[in-house]
Symmetry: C2
Amino acid sequence: MKFELLHKDPASKARAGKLTTAHGEIETPIFMPVGTVGSVKAVTQEQLREEINAQIILGNTYHLYLRPGLEILRQAGGLHGFNGWERPLLTDSGGYQVFSLANNRKIKEEGCVFQSHIDGSRHLFTPENVMDTQRVIGADIIMAFDECPPYPSEYKYAKQSMELTHRWLDRCIRRFKGTDPIYGYEQALFPIVQGSTYKDLRKISAEVIASKDCLGNAIGGLSVGEPEEDMYEMCELVCDILPTEKPRYLMGVGTPWNILENISLGVDMFDCVMPTRNGRNGMLFTWQGVINIKNKKWATDFTPIDANSPCIATSKYTKAYLRHLFAAGEILGMQLASIHNLAFYLELVKEARKRILEGTFAAWKEGMVKQLRQRL
Amino acid sequence: MKFELLHKDPASKARAGKLTTAHGEIETPIFMPVGTVGSVKAVTQEQLREEINAQIILGNTYHLYLRPGLEILRQAGGLHGFNGWERPLLTDSGGYQVFSLANNRKIKEEGCVFQSHIDGSRHLFTPENVMDTQRVIGADIIMAFDECPPYPSEYKYAKQSMELTHRWLDRCIRRFKGTDPIYGYEQALFPIVQGSTYKDLRKISAEVIASKDCLGNAIGGLSVGEPEEDMYEMCELVCDILPTEKPRYLMGVGTPWNILENISLGVDMFDCVMPTRNGRNGMLFTWQGVINIKNKKWATDFTPIDANSPCIATSKYTKAYLRHLFAAGEILGMQLASIHNLAFYLELVKEARKRILEGTFAAWKEGMVKQLRQRL
């Protein structure tokens, strides 16, 4: 995997780059749609490629481990073979889902014991077997097994959790280096900075993570309920420590304005369920602001969300029709809203990248953040 | 509206034709996907056009009348303007839904009083206002208001119901002729043959309907629970009476083998929710037979449903992946199954048409009906 830093914005810490993987190139900054169980919810792969212009999508190790399970994934030639997505893939480590979805989880030094949210069956995730699992899934970028502490966390808990994450990281790296990719192409392991909202912990964690000299680095444990200002403060502090020449991935973030703000702090990669999850609930993100399409005010608005968009969901279907689909409980409403939101997120990072390359990002970002937050 | 009969199969009563409407041509025999509330469930219009090759789709008057309602439809320029579908549209009269979905319905000579299944509000459908409603919806083909008796029905009830349908038809025709299209293009009214499973009633009804000299004719009240043999017997009897030079539409039918059998009896047009409804439930219709994709046997079948199909849902996604999507409750499973089934239905009638034009339909149909019914 290769990362080229193409340009730095003169008036912010924003960067434009290019990440090359075995399954293709990724232009950064990038947003990565989340394909939880091997499917970006309500979106076909043709739509991901042709309407949304997704360059890389995520899979969730926790979900894929439970269903379809490793035996089927191995037989299919990994997730690429299983779902037919030919572009780059990234998998998380399952840590976040174990802590947010699974039942009766118990964290030990060895790893985490939990019960499946589907059938209650008992499982153990360790740094080692999570690496093995991600070898089987076969994503281009795989994540270290970490603990993501909730917000707020007591300082003591946050510190112990961070130290556990660091010890788990060493075990991840050992296992990762001791094993080969199964399907013949390179996988890159990204470690994850933790430390909750404590500056000294974030600093320590960023230094530890930077010292591992991995091909890319991630920031976890943010956008979990803390004020936006805390997120930005932690993100900036960490970005200033993480190596410049490696891609930086801020996990689970966020709104369109969160993304622009964090790009300006030096983040290169983002993922979030928000465009799809909120989309399925009728919330649309647009260049002019946020639309709740279920609102009665759209019932007779026969204009599309944005007539100039290259995305068909955005430019062809009217707001009145979309509102009707949600009012009538039609699946197509969820589909169109998901496609629109993802296409918008990808347009947003594309435009940000163009501005960075032009050297006009910082001023553009200031105005845009205000506009994107508006409720229409 | 113009119907050209291009060829009759020498060994059956199958016909190939071309129906020309203000929104384009329809090659018959044709299957029409059902877009209940103005959306073919879980399918985008791009997919309808490009993957499924739908030539005409349906809307349900009952549903559209309740939601989004006539005021919005009128403002949008009718259903074409509202949902953006530029090809031909057909609407049913609402009769079937009033009798199957609405609450506290009461049939009177004047029409039918019912309560909305959505909010319990009271409404009255009459032959006259159903014509007016279908003028507002603006489909190219609109249907007469009829009563569709359940199966089985007592002879006496079936006869009275049929006679009411005939009286309502005269009122429909009067209103239809006394009003103009709202959006500047022609609409055609199709009357509906009823008569339950009674041969003498079907004969009377077909003669009455034929005598009205409408631009096309429909057969209703079949595929409502009667044995397949009864359906075929009634259909043949009716087709033999309906005028040759007008298109014949068999409403609400059916399975792939039902469609081939009824084509061979002289039917030109079909609609049914089966490909989408059963698709959403994991039932796939294929050239080789019927697949329940939820079955465990498909979990490691890494072949597509049909590698040679032009439909992406059919040729690109594997059975194992599709089964996984259903097992995990992913919306994408419903989407792909709906697209596949509709594309298959459209391929089926296209192939039937080709065989009719070649003169090889009857023998092909015999073998195909057996094959299509198999459970894989």
